[in-house]
């Protein structure tokens, strides 16, 4: 029997309840049901004939609480509720590539329904830590501030921390276009999930995917700003389920872009408030760390499986504040962060990535001999140290003037300017390979006296320093 038929049969079999006692925000409360299981999918039939979906949040002999994904608009006490007896599933198939789906997994592109090869619980299951392989394959993004100083590796979760009006979309797209593992020809795919972004922003992504032909290798889930907020709670789970399926069953290296994590968290907060929970910091639920972890931790490489899931999500920091609970809890879970700076953006520098608060925690396993180049770590450390000191000195210069600086400090000050101008700044379509990135690094470091290169082993100085290389 085809699954759809089966579904119809089932829904005839299951009982419809008209026992809603209360509707509050995105929640409905029911009484007098048969035992209903925790987390199960619910269909709600409205008097006007439409159907909405929801999920059981709390269940007991006396009362059942359901959160409604499409919002409770139009619902009344006459609406009928059917419990499906199973958790929310996504129909998955390798034919999903090239498709555009809604935030709850229905086709939006006018194409046919996905014929499922499998139906998977969208909550996934935690990867056994013992089954994980430590990620270590260098992904070259072509962006110096990432490849050179905050290297991304396959299986990593590395979000962009940005702010409103900053070019995070451009950067994410540039990376989606350029990302490759040098010397490998393996299957890759992009899973893109929009959560509460504007139609215009979504169009921008879609146009770029189409222009570059990336759409053929992509699965797109769209929950836009005018779609129900509660749906945002399932959109990323659908996307990650699709990604895991392609990675672990079809051996693809999948890059997942979720945008915007902040909208997801707002939906989470809204749900918490509707359930009258005791709020945690700044009104966000106390379990937000655990909830976000259930998304971010779905990245990785699994022993004995060829594919991988890498996450490069976008998060806009409310008020550019990195200590706000959304970036803060994210940073505690992800394997680093790429921080976009308004200051660099105002200076006209693209990509305006501030390397100082940025970090790739998996960089050390993805660089060096056999990955990138033996001097990579030393060059990166030295640039960080020099840029940090040089940048600090700008403040001092504003007070005492350049003349009061020692020779050493003057050099550092110049280094900081050069770093932003030559290393950070690059074109929207400029795809620098790692050699180029490191060469730029050395050219800048060569402007400093050799005695200041304290982070670099002499053997690398002899091998790569422009003054030593023949």
């Amino acid at each position: 029997m085809a699954p759809e038929q089966l579904q119809r049969r089932l829904s005839k079999l299951t009982k419809e309840y008209k026992t809603i006692t209360e509707i509050s925000g995105p929640l409905i409360f029911l009484e007098k049901t048969e035992p209903v299981s925790y987390g199960e999918l619910v269909h709600i039939n409205l008097p006007d004939g439409t159907t909405k979906r929801g999920q059981v949040l709390d269940t007991s002999h006396d009362k059942v609480v359901v959160q409604v994904f499409e919002g409770t608009g139009g619902l009344n006490r006459e609406s009928g509720v059917r419990f499906t007896g199973e958790t929310i599933k996504l129909a998955v198939s390798s034919d999903m590539l090239g498709r555009i789906l809604s935030g709850s997994g229905d086709p939006l592109d006018g194409g046919p329904r996905i014929i499922p090869e499998d139906r998977l619980d969208i909550n996934g299951a935690a990867i056994n830590p013992y089954s994980r392989l430590p990620p270590e394959d260098f992904i070259q993004t072509g962006v110096s501030t990432i490849d050179g100083t905050n290297t991304l590796v396959r299986g990593q979760k590395l979000p962009i921390f940005s702010g409103s009006g900053l070019p995070h979309n451009e950067i994410a797209l540039q990376i989606a276009r350029q990302a490759k593992v040098p010397g490998s020809e393996e299957d890759f795919a992009v899973v893109f999930a929009a959560m509460g972004i504007t139609n215009e922003e979504a169009q921008y992504f879609m146009a770029d995917f189409e222009r570059t032909g990336a759409l053929e290798r992509a699965v797109v889930f769209l929950n836009l700003a005018n779609d129900p907020a509660v749906e945002r709670l399932i959109t990323p789970r659908m996307a990650l389920t699709a990604a895991e399926y392609l990675a672990y069953e079809h051996d693809m290296h999948v890059l997942v872009i979720l945008t915007d994590i902040t909208n997801y968290c707002e939906a989470l907060r809204q749900m918490g408030a509707a359930r009258e929970e005791v709020p945690g910091r700044r009104g966000y639920p106390g379990y937000m760390y655990t909830d976000l972890a259930s998304l971010y931790e779905r990245a990785g490489v699994v022993k004995g499986r060829k594919g991988s899931v890498t996450q490069f999500s976008i998060l806009s920091m409310p008020g550019d504040d990195i200590t706000h609970p959304i970036p803060d809890l994210s940073g505690y879970i992800t394997e680093g962060q790429i921080v976009i700076s308004r200051e660099l953006h105002m200076k006209g520098i693209y990509p305006p990535i501030n390397v100082l608060p940025s970090l790739s925690r998996l960089m050390n396993s993805g660089i060096g001999e056999g990955h990138t180049r033996d001097d990579h770590k030393a060059v990166s450390d030295q640039m960080y140290a020099a840029y940090a000191e040089g940048k600090d000195l700008r403040g001092l210069v504003a007070i005492v003037g350049k003349d009061a600086l020692s020779d050493r400090d003057k050099k550092l000050l110049e280094f900081a300017d050069m770093f932003e101008d030559r290393f950070v700044r690059q074109g929207l379509d400029e795809d620098r390979d790692i050699e180029t990135t490191l060469t730029i690094g050395w050219e800048m470091l060569a402007e400093l006296p050799e005695s200041m290169l304290t982070r670099i082993d002499n053997k690398f100085i002899e091998k790569y320093h422009p003054a030593h290389k023949k």
């Binding site: 925790y38 949040l57 013992y130 005791v278 379990y287 809890l329």
Partner: protein, 588 residues
């Protein structure tokens, strides 16, 4: 007696129709998910469930095991990796594949594996709780003592020797009590000891800033709070790798899966600097990552400390790293809010501080029941929201622990690692350990250390002036202070965990580095007095070369070369023609 499920709300399940006691383990539903009673209200009990609860319905059966949450203790703990309730992760993988499903039980110890048991007691011996009746060579360097469980005593009727599984009877007492190599212990109850002793030996970690400036004693407690990316995990891992401890219990509590995978690949390959054996052979890992069930995360800390106590009772020095205690506290908060308990500060339950102190109280140097000197050192990472140390978990922890390693995001951002702030960190053990350093490192160690701390303090004051007038406006002796403190920071305090040589710095090398910096300072200060300029001192090559000695495989050789060069350079600064040149330059 059978009961049934009344209500399910995430990891919290209410059951009815069954008698329970607090902390009894119950089996929930058709799939028999494991849970623990954490509250009783009338004829209903509230259970935290250690596995996913989606799909479970009210009305499903419930059974009480009548046992509190316990761990299995015996040979085979070492080299294991467990989830928060002591299920071996490799076994879970065998049973259910790469993703963690539910409803699977797995014993903490291998019940089938035979171990060679050597008895050390004989028939007729009177034994009581904690006494050793035999040994098992658990790993090449760890001789595992088989002890009488704490609450048992009597006279040995028969004791065996040879190959046995942990469940075989190896000893019978005259009252008929049968003893096995395995014992069970409820995790929420500390194992008894004869008495607590004062810690008097530092845990030598091979990390310069820790051993040098802020040591923790064996049997002591330390907290390492810091915002994300400041180095909590790397520091904890460094301690697990290089500390001169005999047993390591490492708890990944609500943190990243990839970090545990990293430890799992690295530890079998790295060598214990003391024994030359793979680090894994002295390690027990507990991994309940952020996406694994929160109730099991709450339990993971207790599972870990109980295993640590068991080895302490054999007389070992054990160190326990918990990364991160904040995630443990958050697990308590999540459960508490599901219970609709009255929230305390920032939503944490009112018992947060009691739980934290009960946990840290299980650290200590002790005389065990058998009379051994053993210790547990606890090092807890703390993850304050927004990096703000005024939050409840950090504050409650600081009231308990004796060592505070304050991580500083500013230092991390400029890649000064370990980014432990030397001005705000402290160790309350410093005084008590002075004798040890005096006897085992050098009589002038304490002086060098105090002097370094003093200079760093001066530096921070001088920096304030520099911010206003620039460093060139300072008199030469103060410029020299800044130069020396830069050396202390860059040569001594900074340490690269990822450099094969620098990652571990034994105490004698630490001393040599600090002494050489001081030697440089003394010579430079004498030179200044004799009229040499700061510009010339800054240019000395030996100063920069000293910075690279810590990376050299031949540390001693490299250091000697630098010291010789330093002598030469200062000599040439002193020579007459320097005086002449300096006057000439001034005249220009």
């Amino acid at each position: 007696m059978k009961g049934e499920i009344y209500r399910i709300s995430g990891p919290v399940v209410t059951i009815q129709g069954i008698n329970t006691r607090m902390y009894d383990v119950v089996k929930i539903g058709h799939e028999r998910l494991m849970g623990e009673v954490i509250g009783i209200e009338g004829d209903r009990s509230i259970v935290q469930v250690y596995e996913e609860t989606a799909g479970i319905r009210p009305g499903e059966p419930v059974e009480n095991t009548g046992m509190p949450l316990s761990v299995e203790l015996g040979p085979g703990l070492l080299e294991s990796i467990y989830d928060g309730i002591q299920r071996p992760l490799p076994l879970l993988r065998e049973k259910m594949g790469d993703f963690i499903e539910r409803g699977v039980t797995a014993d903490g110890l291998d019940h089938e594996k035979p171990w060679e048991f050597k008895s050390t007691a004989k028939a007729g011996d009177a034994v009581s709780g904690g006494d050793v009746i035999g040994t098992v060579q658990e790993t090449i360097n760890v001789e595992h003592s088989i002890m009488v469980p704490p609450n048992v005593s009597g006279t040995i009727d028969e004791i065996k020797e040879g190959k046995f599984t942990v469940l075989d009877t190896i000893c019978t007492l005259t009252d008929g009590t049968k003893l096995q190599m395995m014992q069970k212990w409820p995790v929420r109850m500390p194992r008894p000891v004869t008495k607590k002793l004062t810690p008097n030996t530092p845990l030598i970690t091979g990390q310069r800033i820790l051993d040098g400036l802020f040591p923790v004693a064996k049997g002591g407690t330390a907290a390492i709070p810091g915002p994300f990316g400041s180095g909590k995990t790397v520091t904890q891992q460094q301690l697990a790798k290089w500390s001169d401890t005999e047993i390591v219990v490492y708890i990944g509590c609500g943190e990243r899966g990839n970090e545990m995978a990293d430890v799992l690949t690295e530890f079998p390959e790295l060598e214990d600097p003391k024994t030359g054996r793979p680090l894994m052979e002295r390690t027990v890992l507990i991994a309940n990552t952020s996406n694994m069930p929160v109730a099991a995360r709450e339990a993971s800390v207790y599972t870990g400390i109980t295993i640590a106590e068991y080895y302490r009772d054999m007389g070992f020095d054990v160190s326990l790293m918990a990364d991160s205690t904040s995630r443990w506290a958050e697990a308590m908060r999540e459960i508490s809010s599901r219970l609709e308990e009255m929230p305390g500060e920032e939503g944490y339950p009112a018992y947060l501080s009691a739980r934290l102190s009960e946990f840290y109280e299980r650290a200590g140097r002790v005389e065990s029941l058998a009379g051994f000197d053993g210790s547990i050192t606890i090092i807890g990472a703390v993850s304050p929201p927004g990096g703000d140390f005024s939050e409840p978990v950090t504050q409650n922890t600081l009231r308990i622990v004796k060592v505070f390693w304050a991580l500083d995001a500013k230092l991390a951002q400029r890649r000064h690692f370990p980014s432990i702030n030397w001005l705000s960190s402290y160790s309350l053990y410093t005084k008590g350990l002075a004798d040890w350093y005096n006897d085992n490192v050098s009589p002038d160690w304490v002086k060098l250390r105090d002097n370094a701390m003093d200079l760093l303090q001066q530096e921070s004051e001088l920096q304030e002036i520099v911010q206003l007038v620039g460093s060139d406006a300072l008199p030469p002796d103060q410029q020299l202070t800044l130069e020396i403190t830069r050396m202390i920071r860059e040569i001594f305090l900074q340490q690269n965990a990822f450099h094969p040589v620098d990652t571990f710095c034994p105490m004698d090398r630490q001393y040599m580095l600090l002494e050489t910096i001081h030697k440089f300072a003394d010579k430079a200060s004498a030179a200044l007095e004799s009229g040499v300029t700061m510009q010339d001192i800054v240019k000395l090559e030996s100063k920069d070369e000293l910075g690279k000695v810590r990376f050299d495989e031949d540390f001693e050789g490299a250091l000697k070369k630098v010291i010789d060069k330093m002598e030469d350079e200062f000599d040439s600064l002193k020579s007459e023609d320097y005086g002449a040149r300096a006057t000439a330059e001034e005249a220009e």
